[in-house]
């Protein structure tokens, strides 16, 4: 075996181990090894060395490694991000989201209704004067239950057995009139929202409204 011959097969063997040998080169290398003991020995020794290195078992970092790295980081201002906080308190987030959405929907309902048409809820036995924007509970008339009036002045000459709620208006109780329940006037959007929240809470937890009914 000449020196150049040896270099050639060394090169082919390296290519083989790098996984970059062509078919023809591979055939050439293995054909050569059939007759060359040196190259065959080299081939097996290299394979064995690579196998030993590859099989040296994989070590893992000590259990305390991450902690140790973190303890050596420069101090970070303990600024708890909103995202992280919300991940830890999903209920609070859900509740506030609910309240926010409810409030905004009530606001929009308010905006639609403010300055709009007169609406009466609870009874038909009232006199509505659109031009003067008044709703009158006529004398001698008894309204069973609650009455809610929007966008109008309410004159109570008769009787209401339940609560009277006046939204975006005012109420006038004639000397002869009578409201058995509470009289409530709601003028501001916020009050309106608060009023509805009370209603909803009252519906959800009925015990809180026992004395009103």
């Amino acid at each position: 075996m000449t020196m150049t011959c040896e270099k050639r097969y060394e090169m082919l063997l390296d290519k083989y181990l790098d996984g970059e040998i062509s078919r023809d080169e591979r055939a050439e290398l293995f054909e050569h090894m059939e007759t060359c003991e040196d190259c065959t020995a080299r081939y097996y020794e290299l394979k064995k060395a690579v196998m030993l290195v590859q099989s040296s078992s994989h070590i893992t970092a000590p259990d305390t490694f991450t902690e140790s790295v973190m303890n050596n980081l420069p101090n970070q201002k303990k600024r708890v991000s909103w995202k992280k906080w919300s991940r830890k308190h999903p209920f609070v987030v859900a509740a506030s989201l609910f309240i926010l959405l409810m409030a905004s929907s009530l606001f929009s309902v308010w905006n639609e209704q403010a300055g709009g048409d007169i609406s009466v809820q609870g009874s038909r036995d009232v006199t509505i004067n659109e031009e003067a924007a008044t709703v009158t509970v006529p004398e001698g008339e008894t309204i069973e239950g609650d009455l809610m009036v929007r966008n109008a002045k309410v004159e109570v000459e008769g009787e209401i057995t339940g609560n009277l709620t006046v939204i975006n208006g005012e109420q006038y109780l004639a000397s002869a009139g009578e409201v058995a329940g509470d009289i409530e006037e709601v003028d501001q959007a916020l009050e309106w929202v608060w009023y509805h929240t009370k209603q909803i809470v009252g519906d959800v937890f009925p015990s809180g409204r026992d004395n009103g009914e």
Binding site: D14, L17, D18, A41, R42, Y44, E45, L46, K48, A49, V50, L52, V53, Q54, S55, S56, S57, H58, I59, T60, A61, P62, F65, T66, S68, V69, M70, N72, L73, P74, Q76, R79, S81, K84
Partner: protein, 188 residues
């Protein structure tokens, strides 16, 4: 995994998020520690180098180019640190030397202590110590190439990125490292 890494890096870059960084450390600690261990040959140095690599990665996250593989960048920091350390320590450091303050504990028994080998492990502990010793005898640049190729299983292209060397140079380093190992390990 790539998507997770991208998200974590974004969070770290944006607000220095340390929790995100802890997750990143958990993902890569074993690979980085393994490289540091194989490069330095003992647990103390490995811990030191691997930790330093992560701290530098955190401090320099801004300069990490997200279009490239994160592991490549991280491994580059790790190997550079190890090679620097080895060059500095060369005159007075040897794996056979007793580690200061540990009664008769050498680098090899440190290796043994950090591993849990199943009984049926084909390669025995002694064999592994021997392999590690021979890896430790390789010159740093060959050692890095051999470790990345055969222990971390990286491609030549990736190794060339990690070591910032042309692919042909990487191949030459692997060939020479392999040849040196053949002489020490191959004929036993």
């Amino acid at each position: 995994m790539d998507a997770v890494v991208k998200r974590l890096i974004k969070e770290i870059k944006k607000e220095g998020d340390q929790d995100a960084f802890a997750e990143l450390v958990d993902l890569y600690k074993d690979k980085v520690y393994q490289i540091a261990y194989r490069m330095t040959g003992n647990g103390y140095e490995a811990q030191d180098m691997a930790q330093e690599a992560f701290l530098r990665a955190y401090a320099n996250m801004e300069s990490y180019d997200e279009s490239r593989k994160f592991s490549t960048w991280l491994f580059r920091i790790t190997t550079n640190l190890c090679i620097d350390r080895l060059r500095k320590k060369k005159p007075d450091y040897s794996l056979d030397a007793e580690i200061q303050g540990t009664d008769g504990l050498t680098g090899y028994s440190q290796l043994a202590a950090s591993q849990n080998l199943p009984e049926d492990q084909v390669v025995t502990l002694e064999l592994q110590e021997w392999v590690q010793r021979e890896i430790s005898h390789l010159p740093e640049k060959y050692r890095a190439a051999v470790i990345l190729r055969y222990i971390e299983d990286l491609s030549i292209t990736e190794i060339s990125d990690v070591l910032d060397l042309p692919e042909n140079t990487v191949k030459t380093h692997i060939h020479r490292g392999r040849e040196a190992l053949r002489k020490r390990l191959g004929n036993a």
